[in-house]
Symmetry: C2
Subunit: 212 residues, 2 copies
């Protein structure tokens, strides 16, 4: 899985922390990242301000920039942290195709319980379609990775004869990724009338013959 470090340059290789910081300040860094996720989640990266982040965490703007050298590096750290946390859903799926399908539905259900994360990725991925966006390369790599992981899963199902006629692993991967993204946009605009996990499950049932 590609880390978010490439967005804003290298950091301390061993700890993943900025050089010179110790365990004591990790709590502060964590609080800043929590606040930054909220701020970037509603309105995206450009609309979110360091002032808003500082206000929520009860610090000054220079204090934020002391822990994360710039706004773009703060965004990189937020994404990196989410990657670590979400890897339990993503990294373990490719082994067995059937487990992978259940993992995708579980991911959709988990996402529905964390609106902030959905807002973050939904807003940022659209904002980052602009090549000049600091997270553009990150999202290009992320989509390549996700599409490849799904391709492997659907290939596993294809080898076991569990794909419906006319469904190829490549098409299944693209369409499933598109379905998850599109459902998120609709869900964010009207969270009452849409069950992301249930609609994703129905989609996967039309691609495969397994019981989901």
């Amino acid at each position: 899985m590609p880390t978010a470090e490439q967005i804003a340059g290298p950091r301390d290789a061993a700890s993943g922390r900025a050089r010179g910081s110790y365990a004591k300040s990790d709590a502060t860094r964590g609080a800043i990242l929590d606040a930054a996720l909220e701020v970037f989640a509603q309105g995206g990266y450009r609309a979110g301000s360091l002032r808003e982040v500082a206000s929520r965490v009860g610090l000054s703007e220079p204090a934020i920039l002391h822990h994360f050298r710039s706004k773009s590096r703060l965004l990189a750290a937020v994404l990196e942290r989410r990657d670590d946390h979400a890897s339990q859903f993503i990294d373990e799926v490719p082994e067995d195709g059937i487990d992978a399908m259940h993992g995708l539905v579980a991911l959709a259900r988990y996402n529905a319980s964390e609106p902030g994360v959905v807002e973050l990725y939904c807003t940022l991925s659209a904002e980052a379609t602009a090549p000049s966006h600091p997270a553009h390369d990150y999202f290009v790599r992320r989509y390549q990775m996700l599409r490849h992981a799904m391709f492997v899963s659907f290939s596993n199902l294809e080898a076991r004869g569990l794909l419906r006629p006319g469904v190829t692993p490549d098409l299944a991967a693209r369409s499933t990724l598109a379905m998850m993204d599109g459902l998120q946009v609709q869900w964010l605009l009207d969270r009452s009338t849409l069950d992301m996990a249930e609609d994703l499950r129905a989609h996967l049932r039309r691609l495969t013959t397994i019981e989901i």
Copy 2:
């Protein structure tokens, strides 16, 4: 179809133009709207500046604000103009379900030929999931309208026995809208490896039994 006027308040009811302007300045207004679409398309509404719009059209910022009283009203005018232009694809679909399906594929193919429009709606719809966004209500209404139009089309197919077993008009409408949106995000991030119209066609073939 809901107009974009509600974003920034009422305008002259008869002409759709700002009060007091005449045919002569319509060319200028059109040029401004063309430039504004480009600017808002890459990066969204908040990241786009009036200065950039003015620069592209060869006018000063106050000249822009003379024709459109504020930045949010400029955005409303851009969306209103696209609504007018895209209505040929949307407004005429509900009559016959089969024609509607072909219309959706044609719309996807048309969108692929106008990257700027895809960027505009893709970026804005994600940005506008924030309730405070000036175009939030517009996009909520837009999705309700699109979902309803598709529901009518799929209901027509259902009545003629053209939906596959287990597919309801409601689910088909939600999933098709999600598919179109999700494909656009992937396409914007990597335009070479994805054919939006072809993937949408495959999706519709798994929902219905008609030849598309």
